[in-house]
């Protein structure tokens, strides 16, 4: 138990504050080796996490680093430093607080290494980097506590796995280190807590009072939402009305591109010149910092944002949260709503803006789930091995290590508690030799085993390259965007692929401005303000999340109701019409609708398995249809359905859903597919097979560089059981392939297929026709298309006669 020095009580009293029960509880249990607090946003979670530290440091006797605070966002680290400095200064506590992120200046980093502050605020990546330093043992020697903020968000991905591995290391450097996790409301606190604790030790959990239910509803709009799309642009006027009525509004979007488009539309309609900002991960640090500062100063009426503002930054007076587009999962919705009304015991206010007709239904289902306090989520698998490979390299950077000791350490890390020695040895072998069946690199090993049995880097200089590539965040290659002649002020970043598709004169949106592409210079996109064309839409990394299984089930159940009085008229009529001309999709059956449209046969499969699984299903179904001679030409998958079009009519859909056939199709299809290649790219760069960042200036467009797809193809052909391919397969199956959701769908429908042959597109299928992400099927037909395109180009050019190159047999 840590007692609160009287100084603190006085300070609280002076501000008219009282300590929340869970904050007191955190103090009472401050000695627990592992402790997790579950509290809603606005519950004073962060202060609860820091109170024991402040109390312990109050007498000034501790020297060196005492508490490490890790958050998923750089902005959060900065924000917390600001907030924490206030009580420390006002109480005159002898405590030094600093933050350290990728944005911290080099000189400051150096000083922090030589003379660490009492409290260091950082991110998982910066922590991993610090652990890679030779002097890590000295820096962390006196460390007493580590506070992991927003642990629920971190543990959803590899950043959390990396952080927990770092914790395992810290435990070795500072035995007896106490771990504290701060989490928003989650569906399974015990599972989360078990990842935090040193395995197999227990983790105590404190659950704060969740506070009153949020006040949440759908925004009523004059215009009905469009049939397809994800932008929410139709609701701009009503959103502006709401912004006017509230002090500060956060407007959340599911993707960066949508945020940009919406912001642009908002500006065009913003006749009253309301101060509105935009914030997302592709904007430059400066732009984001300006928006954050303006927000804290209360200068903005609204801020258009994405997940980059999802987490617990204290934005002060936010009294309304608007979610554009269906929230896709209930847990995230609840956590986002928590951003509004940052006061304990006051209900949060939120409005949902469905982006299309079907999302109206999804929003309705999400509202019901929130009311019923039902959160969704699916358990994550064990810690992925690519992250462990990187951890082994990081460990090697810090100095020679013993493999048995490292294995024992990794076994204490929650996500890796179940790892076998063979798996660990595979990772070590991969890091040391490449792990290939062909033992080609004996001379050039990355790690060497010394005569005393310890492992070390063969070439100490490689530590620099390893450190440059630390981290598990996978963004596509991004290029900076700068105003021509605008000095050193980047506006933000766009994907390299998007940049290379631009021709001078093209315009696009960034940071809410329309800019004109001029030239690409040394990895920087130069733009000007002369924007005289309709802007194109920049593409950003960040895949759309699929609707959760739980939410999909709720939607299916809702569709079975005789009527939907709470829905707007347009959506009700649309659903009634569907029931009239076809059927409603059911949880336990597969509804297939076929119709002709635009000279093609279409088949719509309403299987509600979520975007990724529906796309996988699209690939598998078209593959089967190709072998059946139905000549599929393409498909589109949404969260709810897959629409396939082709040259011939599908008359007997049931055999397509034979689980055995589908699984077999998956095996054959998986190796040669783009999803695998994309997953491979991420896995290979995390594991250190490929390096994104090189010490010298990266060149562009030169022949010396080649695509990771080539590596994937080569490895798949010559070394199919290689560790990195195995990790890729596992990850793709869980992630983008999402075959578990296909299995779940097959399980609940058990081969019960209903076919409706309609004369024209049904109401549900009609919306699918307008979806954008259409995927062409690479079959015999497509190859012919490429040939036709080549012939057409040749003919159009009028060059066919020149020298008459001809096709001939050799």
């Amino acid at each position: 138990m840590t007692a609160l020095p009287p100084l603190f009580d006085d300070w609280f009293a002076k501000r008219g504050w009282s300590i929340h029960p869970h904050q007191r509880e955190m103090l009472a249990r401050a000695d627990a080796p592992a402790l997790m607090l579950i509290a809603p946003t606005g519950g004073g979670k962060t202060l609860a996490g820091f109170l024991p530290t402040l109390a312990e440091l109050a007498d000034g006797s501790h020297k060196g680093l005492h508490t490490l605070y890790v958050s998923p966002l750089k902005a959060l680290a900065t924000d917390i430093r600001r907030n924490l400095t206030i009580p420390v200064e006002e109480m005159g506590l002898p405590i030094r607080i600093e933050d350290r992120t990728g944005d911290t200046k080099q000189t400051a980093k150096k000083r922090q290494r030589a003379d660490p502050p009492h409290i260091l605020l950082t991110t998982p990546e910066s922590l991993a980097l610090m652990i890679s330093y030779e002097d890590a043992p000295r820096i962390f020697a006196g460390l007493k506590r580590i506070v992991v903020d927003e642990i629920h968000a971190l543990m959803e991905g590899k950043r959390g796995d990396q952080l927990m591995l770092s914790l395992g290391r810290l435990e070795t450097l500072a035995p007896g280190l106490r771990r504290v996790g701060l989490s928003a409301t989650v569906e399974d606190p015990e599972a989360l807590a078990s990842l935090l604790a040193k395995h197999p030790e227990p983790c105590e959990i404190i659950e704060a009072d969740p506070g009153p239910d949020p006040d949440i509803s759908m925004l009523r709009t004059e215009a009905p939402p469009p049939w397809a799309g994800a932008g929410g642009g139709y609701a701009v006027r009503e959103v502006l009305e709401q912004v006017k009525k509230h002090k500060t509004t956060l407007i959340f979007h599911n993707t960066r591109a949508q945020a940009e488009i919406f912001f642009h539309k908002l500006w065009l309609a913003n006749e009253d010149d309301l101060p509105i900002g935009i914030h997302h991960g592709s904007l430059s640090r400066q732009v984001r910092a300006n928006v954050e500062a303006a927000m804290v100063a209360g200068e903005l009426k609204a801020i258009v944002c994405t997940g980059s503002l999802d987490l617990g930054i204290d934005w002060g007076d936010v009294d309304l949260v608007i979610q554009i587009g269906a929230p896709k999962n209930v847990k995230r919705l609840v956590q986002r709503i928590g951003r509004a009304n940052h006061r304990y015991n006051a209900p949060s206010k939120a409005l949902l803006v469905p982006a299309n007709r079907f999302e109206v239904v999804e929003c309705m289902a999400a509202l019901e789930a929130v009311k019923a306090h039902e959160l969704d989520g699916s358990p994550r698998g064990p810690g992925p091995l690519d992250v462990l490979c990187q951890h082994i390299m990081i460990t090697a950077c810090a100095g020679p290590f013993d493999e048995d000791a490292l294995f024992a350490e990794v076994k204490t890390v929650g996500p890796y508690a179940g790892i076998s020695r063979a798996q660990f040895d595979d990772c070590l072998d991969f890091v040391a030799t490449g792990g290939y069946a062909l033992r080609a690199y004996d001379k050039w090993k990355r790690l060497l085993q010394r005569p005393d049995g310890l492992w070390q880097l063969r070439d100490p200089r490689s530590a620099l390259r390893i450190r440059m590539n630390i981290g598990t965040i996978q963004d596509a290659d991004m290029l900076k965007v700068r105003m021509r002649g605008g000095g050193g002020r980047p506006l933000g970043e766009v994907e390299e692929g998007f940049a290379s598709s631009l021709t001078p004169g093209d315009t696009f949106l960034i940071g809410g401005q329309v800019v004109r592409y001029e030239t690409l210079r040394e990895m920087t996109v130069e733009v000007t303000r002369r924007a005289d064309r309709e802007p194109r839409i920049a593409t950003y990394a960040g895949a759309k999340m699929p609707t959760s299984a739980q939410l999909a089930h709720r939607i299916l159940d809702d569709l079975q109701r005789p009527d939907w009085p709470e829905l707007p008229r347009h959506t009700r009529d649309w659903l009634h019409l569907q029931r009239e001309v076809s059927k409603m999709p059911e949880r336990g059956r597969i509804l297939v609708e076929t119709f002709e449209h635009d000279g093609r046969h279409h088949a719509c499969f309403h299987t509600f398995a979520g975007r990724h699984a529906q796309q996988t299903l699209g690939l598998l179904l078209t593959r089967r249809m190709e072998t059946l001679g139905l000549h599929p030409l393409g498909f589109v998958g949404t969260d709810y359905a897959t629409l396939v079009w082709g040259l011939d009519e599908l008359t007997d859909p049931a055999p397509l859903f034979e689980a055995h056939e589908l699984r077999e199709g998956l095996e054959g299809w998986l190796t040669s597919n783009a999803v695998m290649k994309r997953t491979f790219r991420g896995v290979a760069s995390i594991a250190g097979l490929i390096e994104k960042n090189l010490p010298q200036v990266r060149k562009t467009g030169k022949q010396a560089t080649f695509s990771s797809d080539i590596l994937y193809d080569t490895l798949a052909k010559y070394d199919p059981d290689h560790l990195i391919l195995r990790v890729t397969r596992d990850e793709a199956m869980r992630g983008l392939v999402d075959f578990a959701r296909v299995e779940e769908m097959l399980e609940r429908t058990k081969g019960r297929v209903d076919l409706v042959r309609a004369a024209r597109p049904t109401p549900l299928a009609a919306a699918m026709l307008l979806e954008r992400d259409r995927v062409p099927v690479a079959g015999a037909g497509r190859e012919r298309l490429a040939e036709q395109e080549a012939a057409r180009l040749l003919k159009e050019s009028g060059l066919a006669a020149f020298g008459a190159p001809t096709v001939a047999g050799v």
């Binding site: 598709s501 090189l694 560089t705 990771s708 080539i710 590596l711 010559y718 096709v807 001939a808």
Partner: protein, 229 residues
């Protein structure tokens, strides 16, 4: 096997889908930029250990082309090895494989910027080589006539037809071959360096499952960027 027959400087050259060029009259298969031993060189210089199978993949492709065409001569247009140490550092089985292809064939190594000297393998080394009306050199020279070269690894995409593919570029006076090696990236065919070399009318032959003949694009924007490292 399908090929594009190209009348060039009074000769006929056949562009294969693999990126090789067949000069039937001389019984010669021409390939460029094999970059054998690239993964070994990267491991040696950078410490990253890429899958060490690119030499095998490239040689298997070459072997298939030789079998399909029955060519008795081979001309490698430079950058056959990622560097000269890579040539000596080939895995024993890869080296044996290469030697088995060379044996019994007239084999010409034209040097490139990556392999500026004999690599210690059978075959004849040339700085550049003239055969009849054709000149073979690694890097194209301005104003050359009847020149075949490599070096640039040109690639080109067709609108709406997927990713850019490695391609042969040619006009009436010169040809620039695609990179034949497995671990090779590409330079967009419309890059200024290549625009300066290919005159009008110009053509490209895309590699892939079948060779595709297309006109050399008249304006920028056709060669799409790929992720690189």
């Amino acid at each position: 096997m399908n090929a594009i027959e190209i009348p060039f400087q009074g000769e006929t050259l056949c562009a294969l889908a693999s990126g090789a060029l067949l000069w039937r009259a001389r019984d010669l298969l021409i390939v460029s930029d094999l970059h054998l031993g690239k993964s070994e060189r990267i491991a040696r210089r950078r410490g990253t250990m890429l899958p060490p199978y690119e030499t095998r993949a490239t040689l298997e492709r070459l072997e298939a082309d030789l079998a399909a065409t029955g060519a008795n001569g081979v001309l490698c247009l430079g950058d056959s090895f990622d560097d000269l140490d890579a040539a000596t550092g080939l895995e024993p089985q890869d080296r044996a494989h290469l030697v088995s292809l060379i044996e019994g064939r007239a084999w010409h190594w034209v040097e490139g910027n990556h392999d500026p000297g004999p690599a210690g393998l059978p075959g004849v080394h040339h700085a550049e080589l003239v055969m009849g009306p054709l000149t073979f050199r690694h890097i194209a020279e301005p104003g050359a006539q009847g020149e075949l070269s490599g070096h640039y690894h040109p690639k080109l995409g067709l609108p709406g037809c997927g990713e850019a593919r490695a391609c042969l570029l040619f006009d009436a006076t010169r040809m620039i071959l695609p990179a034949y090696g497995a671990y090779t990236g590409g330079m967009p065919a419309t890059a200024p360096e290549l625009r300066a070399l290919i005159g009008s009318p110009g053509f490209a032959v895309l590699t892939g499952s079948k060779p595709l003949l297309v006109p050399y694009p008249a304006r920028a924007g056709a060669g799409r960027g790929r992720r690189r490292f």
